[in-house]
Symmetry: C2
Subunit: 767 residues, 2 copies
């Protein structure tokens, strides 16, 4: 068995794991028995702030004397810059500065061959120059006064075109991103030739998926301010410590001279994980002028010049034995990531690990084209791969004359095929079985059996994601002398409810009312080094450290209480905020009464997430079901009901749990039915740069009913028995809908999105 | 032996000491052998910020939409308020609010019988109302439009008048502040009657001292801002956690809803320790309007309506035996503290504890008068008491025909007479002997022996202060993955160099360049609960916790290094920033190389100040010497040279050590020679409310030469062997100068300040 090249973050973890605290394991905490807070429907602790507009996002930060920066972006998809004349712009009253290749520091960006400002720009929207002015209107006017002499170069939009030997080269090494010098990243286990030989049925299909754009409510936002050599940056960031690290590297200054702040975040979905140029442009301008600088990407910039989910072309060849045993899976994956390298490009792990299969081979080709750079977007690689694999599973089942659910159940595995070790807790079978039950899967009709104008159909699909959480995550819980509590965590709350569930963990462990907890988060100055909120790792990385911190504080509180009550430590307990003597429950005190005696005026608990005691991540699984009606006249698809069963171990908050799943399904629906970046081949420009023409799902597109099911399989690898839930819900929707559409119409669709025109054309073609 | 009633902070400590960590003592750290940083002349780490104006003081905070508050103050020394009509003020464009007794919440202030705004006001300057406006000019204009109907009441300015039974009462209980219901606070040990019977020489004298005003560079400054129910207050505060506690109490909100910030402070000297009304006025206005509110006391307000050193009338009767043994000391101390109670009013401990004396009695009367409230000012009670006691010592010596130095040496004691236990390290004898040697005391001439117009004379005096530091003080030291270091402490830096010496402790313990350390201090959100910077406790309270934190971080760093180097922990050490294998020094790494391997990306050291393992504070001592020339024509006193010998254990930084002593002497000189609040008896108003007429010492008043001597007696009661140095230098100057003036002129002065007019009148009187 040959392992795929480790993902960068795993390499990092592998390096780290051997040091320091490998041997010192996390304290084993007793499992919660009957919970009072955890698992309940607890409203957001910051609900008022969020809906009233009092929550301060990065874009809400206004400082006295603040200046505004704007970026001039390339109008050409590939061009050399012969000259930039900014004299007219600089002469405009209120303009405070210009940055371009002529005066900007040579800061490497995205690749060793590209800098903050280059003389060659590689897509429509690429950074050409930046303007600083007294307000954003002057900055916008000044942009138009910058005179740039361009020398346009040949450009490439289509990945398969770009892969041709005769194609013009975007980079000297060619148009394929290199993995350790190789133009393809290959993985294999077993022997695919043997697999095909053993297979009774073999299918080969091509699937394509579109580019999907990030449309968070809050676009990329920064405010930079220097106090001497100390930079404070309010940035809409998924991980303030990770942003701090990247800023330190880009500006080549010590990390202890940088403060990143982001307690509130208006959505991220992976797009606010890597540092973008605007952060450093703001910092450079602020340093130069000694004044605070704000920069906010417009909606258009956010759509054109920032991360997106890349499109894909997937060739899957699969073989299955008569009894339904999956014999072989072969994937060729082609994905264009735009003009600049992206380390995390490639397929997800669906083909490689979702089902038991002894013979697997995957080859991934990552192609440069002259469009904006791709980046992480909610389960990178997975929804598109699920769209391919899960339709293939359905087709194989049909050929076998087997129920698609049965085929999947048959090929479920208890082993994590990457490490060969058993999963610690896997609930995929439970998800499939219980989801099917809730949904009424047994009433499934034959494909194309639906009559009338609106053809109904049902479909299902599964998905998998990692991982099980990891360091760094250090949390502080303070019990103040007045009995109130502070929870201090470095974690960003992307809008998912992190602040709420972390507060719940403290409330549960300390047995205090959640209202008495003040949470401080995502500020490198006030909180401890914590992993970014990305990859669905937050709850499983940070949550255990929060419980440890609360537990530590509680231990100290009870020790102080025992001293105060002159009784043995073991004879003291806490319940409902009351500390009492177990053998004499009338001997009792409030938390405040005890905490007020603390010699330091505060009891401080610290919780540090220790490395997991296993080599690789565990996975998270899910299984979705949908019933839809396809209008055979308009081609419109209406989702009727949806069941989402998730194997994410313990549910911390029934509200935020449902929020995550509903949101993920919504995002998956937009991806399945309507979202698509449309490029103009003649100019290299994006045509639908707005939220009318680029259609994300809204309330009206949601299924009439969504039922969630949680397979709460105990998960022993962290002290609160949780797995992540951020990404998984967005993985199966496209495949689920495509399978249901096949069930409704008897027509298979191999290309996303499933827009009305495609449906109508397919229906016409069949006629 | 009867102990004086415990000071409030000692009561507090007594309560706390018995809890929690009484039994867990501080880790014993190895003593520093050869120091590389500690004890050297290290410039201020924030020197650039301080002199360039880039350091942000509370008064420098400007927030968008900020409003400005101003206080209307009473023009009468004692008056009832019949009515307040603010309608004209409120009608002025730009006025945003008014607060007065009619609408302000009933927040108790200074006493149980007084509130934030009262219907009776008790001194010229007392708070009558407050205005909020768009800017301070509008606020000032609006103040004049508030129409107040007063009904003036009889008032008292003179404390001895106020003590008369027939005097009008400022408070229902009378004009003497009550100590546990008693109008006098009495202390005695031994038997004073027996003492007088045994004495061979008995002297009885009356001494008076004036009111001295706080004149810090930065006046009281606040900016209040609410985020929902969370208050951030930038306040010029000596102790952010102590301010937080007071704000919580006044506003009756949880401490975890309050953030106090004060990394820089433009001088405090005791005046920024208690919460003043302006902080709460700003907070109330900010809450009401939802906008930030700034309030800055003008210089005049700072002089009239905030803390000051109260005047005193001291009667000392002392007896001494022929051999110089001090037989008896009796003190009657009368001090007016203005119109409101002050818990810490009273004499210092000079008479009670400076010299060995078996028979001591002190009676303290604290009197209300209709002036602003007194408060802490650099060694409260001590300079005035030193002025009395140390002149008495000189007079006794003269009667005994003994050298004043010899009399003091004879009566030095190794016991702390409050507890009866020996001092842990006392250097008063060394200070006296070495100071005298440096000064050339043996050349002292007889009093009045100087000839010519400018009469030269020398004098000396001693002083004592407490204490030895105490919790709470928790410090964090972080070693980041790039090798840089963060030092996080709750301590305020009053301008004394706290940030610098704390950084030095880290640099010494970690062996890192001081430039790599970033310090965060005095912010309740970013730092750990720490004692206020007052009472000279900072270095002895916080310093040990800083060393513990650095030591803890170092231990963890070296453990990680040993793991990395695959060698035994004991075989690893650090020197000059290089971590090496002791048995093979070529096997070495930089701190960065090791720190980058930390699993949490950061190595965190925590240091907690534990309670001292003794009942009471130790004391700090000093002995000053001066030579002066008194101009017999103009009466002016010119200080020629000064020797200040201090028993403050280890010197951390030769620069800041000298800064503290020079500054303390300067303050003592102003107090001795020129500072005096002058009240108009006819109106109850202060006449010299400005820095021209109220003359503090400036560079021109300083001695031509100041020599400092440090008696660096090892002090085992904390891990860095330090005592405080903030207050002591300001204690003996007035007494030292008075004794030198006697030596110059042969005339004794019993009343401070020693202004030219007094000198001339005394010379005339003698003629």
């Amino acid at each position: 068995m040959k392992n795929i090249e480790l993902e960068p973050f795993e390499k990092e973890r592998e390096i780290r794991n051997v040091f320091e605290e490998k041997t010192s394991k996390e304290e084993k905490l007793p499992a919660w028995k009957e919970t009072k807070v955890i698992g309940k429907k607890i409203p957001r602790v910051d609900g008022y702030e969020l809906v009233s507009g009092t929550a301060k996002y990065s874009s809400d930060i206004n400082l006295p004397g603040m200046l505004y920066a704007k970026i001039l972006r390339s109008p050409h998809p590939h061009t050399e810059i012969i000259d930039i004349d900014s004299s007219k712009a600089e002469a405009l009253p209120g303009v405070k500065g210009v940055l371009c290749y002529k005066n900007a520091p040579k800061i490497k960006w995205w690749s060793d061959k590209s800098f903050l400002f280059d003389r060659t720009v590689r897509y429509v929207g690429d950074e050409v120059a930046a303007i600083l002015a007294e307000n954003k209107h002057i900055a916008e006017d000044a942009l138009k006064l910058i005179e740039v002499t361009y020398k346009p170069l040949p450009y490439l939009l289509d990945p398969e075109e770009a892969m041709k030997p005769e194609a013009p080269k975007i980079w000297p090494e060619g148009n394929l991103m290199l993995f350790r010098g190789e133009p393809v990243r290959s993985y294999s286990r077993g022997d695919v030739e043997k697999g095909f030989a053993e297979a009774d049925i073999i299918l080969e299909r091509k699937y394509t998926s579109q580019v999907a754009l990030h449309c968070p409510m809050e676009t990329h936002s920064d405010v930079a301010n220097w106090d001497g050599d100390y930079l404070t940056l309010w940035e809409s960031s998924q991980g303030v410590f990770w942003t701090q690290e990247q800023v330190a590297q880009k500006l080549n200054i010590p990390v202890n001279k940088i403060r990143i702040i982001c307690p509130y975040l208006g959505g991220a979905f992976g797009s606010k994980w890597e540092l973008n140029k605007q952060s450093i442009i703001a910092a450079l301008f602020a340093k130069e002028t000694g004044r605070p600088v704000k920069i906010i990407a417009t909606r258009q910039e956010n759509m054109v010049a920032y991360e997106h989910r890349p499109s894909s072309i997937q060739y899957i060849k699969a073989g299955v034995k008569k009894d339904g045993t999956l014999a072989v899976l072969k994937l060729k994956y082609i994905s264009p990531i735009g003009a600049y390298p992206w380390l995390y490009a490639g397929s997800g792990d669906e083909v490689r690990y979702l089902y038991r299969c002894n013979n697997v081979e995957t080859d991934e080709y990552i192609v440069y084209t002259n469009v904006g750079r791709a980046g992480a977007m909610r389960a990178p690689g997975c929804p598109e791969e699920s769209f391919a694999l899960e339709q293939m599973m359905d087709e194989l089942a049909e050929k076998l004359n087997m129920d698609p659910l049965e085929l999947r159940l048959k090929n479920d595995t208890k082993l994590y095929q990457r490490s060969g070790k058993p999963y610690a807790g896997k609930g995929l079978t439970e998800c499939m079985e219980q989801g099917a039950k809730l949904f009424g899967w047994e009433n499934r009709k034959k494909p194309g059996a639906s009559r009338g104008r609106k053809k109904k159909g049902i479909g299902m699909a599964c998905g998998q994601w990692g991982d099980g959480g990891r360091p760094p995550a250090t949390t502080i819980v303070k019990i103040n002398y007045d009995g109130t509590v502070n929870l201090i965590t470095g974690a960003s709350d992307l809008g998912t409810g992190t602040r709420t569930v972390m507060s719940m963990i403290v409330a549960e462990e300390l047995s205090v009312p959640i209202e008495t907890i003040e949470i401080t988060n995502a500020d490198t100055e006030t909180t401890c080094h914590t992993i970014y909120s990305g990859g669905s790792v937050t709850v499983a990385s940070v949550g255990p450290s929060v419980r440890l911190a609360a537990y530590d504080a509680k231990k100290k509180l009870l020790a102080l209480a025992a001293y105060e009550m002159k009784v043995d430590k073991k004879d003291v307990d806490i319940n409902g905020g009351i500390i009492f003597q177990k053998s004499n429950p009338d001997n009792k005190f409030t938390i405040k009464e005890i905490a007020s005696k603390a010699i330091d005026r505060v009891i401080v608990g610290v919780g540090k997430r220790k490395p997991n005691d296993y080599d690789f991540q565990d996975n998270i699984f899910c299984c979705h079901f949908v019933e839809l009606a396809a209008d055979s006249v308009t081609g419109e698809i209406k989702l009727l009901r949806y069941v989402a069963a998730h194997d994410s171990a313990r549910v911390l908050n029934r509200f935020t749990y449902d929020n995550q799943i509903h949101g993920g399904i919504g995002m998956g629906i937009g991806y399945a039915l309507s979202e698509e970046r449309i490029m103009d081949k003649a100019t290299g420009k994006m045509l639908n740069v707005n939220l009318l023409d680029y259609k994300i799902a809204s309330q009206i597109d949601m299924p009439e009913k969504i039922t969630t099911y949680a397979a709460e399989i105990p998960y022993p690898r962290n002290n609160i028995s949780v797995k992540g839930l951020g990404e998984p819900p967005t993985i199966p929707p496209a495949a689920t809908i495509a399978n249901a559409l096949y069930n409704a119409l008897g027509i298979r669709f191999f290309s996303l999105p499933l827009t009305p025109d495609k449906v109508i054309q397919a229906l016409k073609k069949r006629k």
